[in-house]
């Protein structure tokens, strides 16, 4: 017989878990006690929210569920924002929370919080474990549920006594959940209809979302759009699905997107949506989609199809699999006129990369930064004006662009970068954030130092909550309210206090050299870029 805690550790080892991002407390002490005897490395975060974000960054790069762990009560509630962020962006996580002893449940004892209840809207599934003997089955199911179908966070809440109870370790070979059988292959009849729609279309466009990464279908997408000559636009979550410099890529669409991408959607007669939610913000749909545009929607989650947009041909299944199925049917190559016109219009777009009188040009800067980084670099963008500058100007080649798309959670970029770097130690990882969001995550500098995580951090300092200030300028008669960040610390000095090298630049003249210095530095580095407070997002 072994204890529940030993069983948990054994299950995690069986799942091939390398890292746990967590923060201890009384109700997870049995588990932490057994963890020291395991090969699994524990990363001590400085706030539970970041445990979730770090697990998220790790999961998105490793393509395996990220694991995080907190104590009961406040530890668990501190995790909720990260669960919600992962849920909205379909990131696979397995989150463990300690819980008070099971015989005390429901009595509001010290550090008791109904976390399965509180996190219910933000988890794909959750468990409150009542018997230690169930742990091996539950953990196996949790990894399966988190990583298959439409991925998402799964929460396992474990009372402290269940961690010390004894069990005969038995883990079932296979997961058997009769209510959960995700569809992978597209329905043959629907594939035929897609084929006909493509062949009949004059002006087809593909709109790709984050689902393509979950399906690991980037290669298939590129083959598909190249072989039949269809232009591609993406949601924010879909950035990098094909290289951003690819001639067929028209950019991100939506409210903060490229005009040419929105134009392509409006003018299209066939819109093929792949692994995207068709949400309001990112896509500026459905208002802009003409009634004559036929919509093909490919998604692994049937509940997304037809939710926000009338769909002509729904196809449920894995994006990569379905793209293969459609290609096997050999759709006709589309006329060059439509595509060429879009390509030409794209060439005409003037990029606003001129130097500024005061401060750096953030668009030019992120462009330069991403071009200087190796092809497979991982770019983690935060939220705010800085996210829009990054999304619109960062060049993704074979790497990834990670950001909090659905939830828009400030404070995501640095923890996500930590997780990503641990998942891919050989790749360059950079986090770009604002001065507001930096202060929501700067405690993670300690996590970085403690674990020698080589991430590069860029802080866009405009001394404002820039995006909100911009909203106030446009829609509230410039009445600036609670957006001034006066009182913030000297960011380079903060880094220095952690022993992190860094510098500040306030002109594009220094950008190239500063980027070289940052990337040339072995280990973590922080670069503060001064940006004028009136610099617009677009």
């Amino acid at each position: 017989m072994i204890t529940g805690a030993e069983a948990i550790v054994r299950c995690l080892e069986n799942e091939g878990v390398e890292y746990i991002f967590g923060y201890p407390g009384a109700t997870v002490c049995p588990l932490y006690d057994k963890l020291t005897k395991s090969s699994i490395k524990h990363i001590l975060v400085r706030h539970e929210q970041h445990a979730g974000h770090e697990a998220s960054g790790y999961a998105r790069i490793k393509k395996r569920p990220g694991v995080c762990m907190t104590t009961s009560g406040p530890g668990a509630t501190n995790l909720i924002t990260a669960l919600a962020t992962a849920y909205m962006d379909s990131v696979p996580l397995v989150a463990f929370t300690g819980q008070v002893s099971s015989e005390l449940l429901g009595r509001d004892v010290f550090q008791e919080a109904d976390i399965t209840g509180a996190a219910e809207p933000f988890t794909k599934y959750s468990y409150l474990v009542k018997n230690a003997a169930d742990l091996p089955r539950i953990i196996k199911e949790a990894f399966h549920i988190a990583s298959t179908g439409r991925p998402g966070p799964v929460l396992i809440d474990i009372p402290v006594n269940v961690q010390t109870d004894k069990l005969d370790f038995y883990q079932p070979e296979a997961v058997d959940l009769r209510g959960y059988k995700p569809t992978i292959k597209g329905h043959a009849g629907q594939i035929k209809r897609v084929l006909r729609a493509i062949n009949n279309a004059q002006r087809p466009v593909i709109c790709v979302g984050g689902g393509i990464f979950a399906a690991e279908g980037q290669k298939e997408l590129q083959q598909f759009c190249e072989s039949i000559n269809i232009p591609v636009v993406s949601t924010m979550m879909g950035i990098g699905a094909i290289p951003t410099a690819h001639p067929l890529y028209m950019g991100m669409l939506g409210m903060h997107g490229k005009s040419i991408a929105n134009r392509a959607i409006i003018d299209s007669d066939l819109l093929i949506i792949i692994g995207a939610r068709v949400s309001d913000r990112a896509v500026l749909l459905p208002a802009n989609v003409s009634k004559n545009t036929k919509i093909v929607h490919i998604d692994i989650d049937p509940a997304e199809i037809g939710k926000n947009l009338d769909t002509f041909i729904p196809v449920v299944g894995d994006a990569k699999e379905i793209l293969r199925q459609v290609m096997e049917e050999e759709p006709e190559k589309k006329s060059v006129e439509w595509t060429d016109a879009l390509k030409a219009a794209r060439e005409m777009l003037t990029l606003d990369y001129e130097p500024r009188k005061a401060g750096i040009n953030p668009k030019a800067f992120v462009h330069l930064l991403s071009r200087t980084l190796p092809d497979d670099h991982i770019y983690c963008a935060d939220v705010g004006q800085n996210q829009i500058w990054s999304a619109g100007n960062c060049e993704v080649r074979t790497g990834r662009f990670l950001t909090s798309g659905g939830m828009g959670t400030m404070g995501y970029s640095i923890p996500a970068a930590i997780g990503a770097k641990l998942a891919a130690p050989d790749r360059a990882v950079v986090a770009v954030c604002g001065d507001g969001s930096f202060q929501m995550q700067m405690m993670e500098l300690a996590t970085i130092c403690q674990n020698n995580v080589d991430v590069k951090i860029v802080v866009m300092k405009n001394n404002k909550l820039g995006l909100v200030k911009e909203i106030q300028r446009k829609s509230y008669k410039n009445n600036e309210s609670a957006v001034d960040l006066t009182g913030s610390p000297d960011i380079v000095a903060i880094a220095a206090a952690y022993g992190i090298p860094g510098r500040r630049i306030d002109s594009m003249d220094a950008a190239e050299e500063a980027i070289a210095q940052m990337l040339g530095n072995k280990g973590v580095y922080l670069l503060e870029c001064v940006v004028d407070e009136n610099e617009p997002s677009m």
Binding site: E120, P121, K124, L128, L177, A303, G306
Partner: protein
């Protein structure tokens, strides 16, 4: 429009909370929800009456299907099902009203299940419309309490969910 949806779920703690949470969150209007065990003790059946257009009915069905603990969801065709609801109505009355009330109950094929000097409790199991009618007929008297179970339904003939 009213839709009747039959849902087979795992008989586990927390399932009902998840499902009712889902309705609240997504703003689905549920007229009635009846839950009980089935021939298999591990499976419960939830019968839902949903008010809304076809879009709403489809969204409810899809969101339910997405739940891990939901085994099957079937939107039932009103014409092809047997529907039943059970009601208990307590009426306060004077001695001279008793006869009239008993007549109504007889005509409606209900049953008097409890009686006191001042009250009668009527039980009836029938289609929800008939239940509505019973309540309507009793409303001129002093109805002091009503308890309805919500509709349950099964398909006619050999068909099963």
């Amino acid at each position: 429009m009213k839709h009747t949806i039959s849902v087979l779920v795992e008989n586990k703690a927390g399932v009902l909370a998840r499902i009712s949470g889902l309705f609240a969150r997504r703003g689905f209007n549920i007229d009635s929800l009846a839950v009980g065990t089935t021939e298999d003790k591990n499976i419960s059946r939830i019968t839902l009456l949903v008010d809304g257009d076809d879009y709403i009915a489809e969204q409810v069905t899809k969101q339910l299907n997405k739940q891990i603990d939901v085994i099957k969801v079937r939107k039932l065709d009103q014409e092809e099902i047997t529907r039943r609801e059970l009601v208990l109505v307590k009426v306060k009355m004077s001695a001279d009203q008793r006869g009239e009330i008993i007549d109504i109950v007889k005509i409606m094929q209900g049953e008097i299940v409890d009686i006191s000097h001042t009250t009668l409790t009527v039980e009836m199991s029938d289609k929800p419309e008939k239940i509505d009618l019973l309540i309507d007929l009793l409303s001129p008297y002093n109805i002091v309490e009503v308890a309805r179970t919500g509709t349950i339904a099964l398909q006619k003939g050999a068909a099963i969910v």
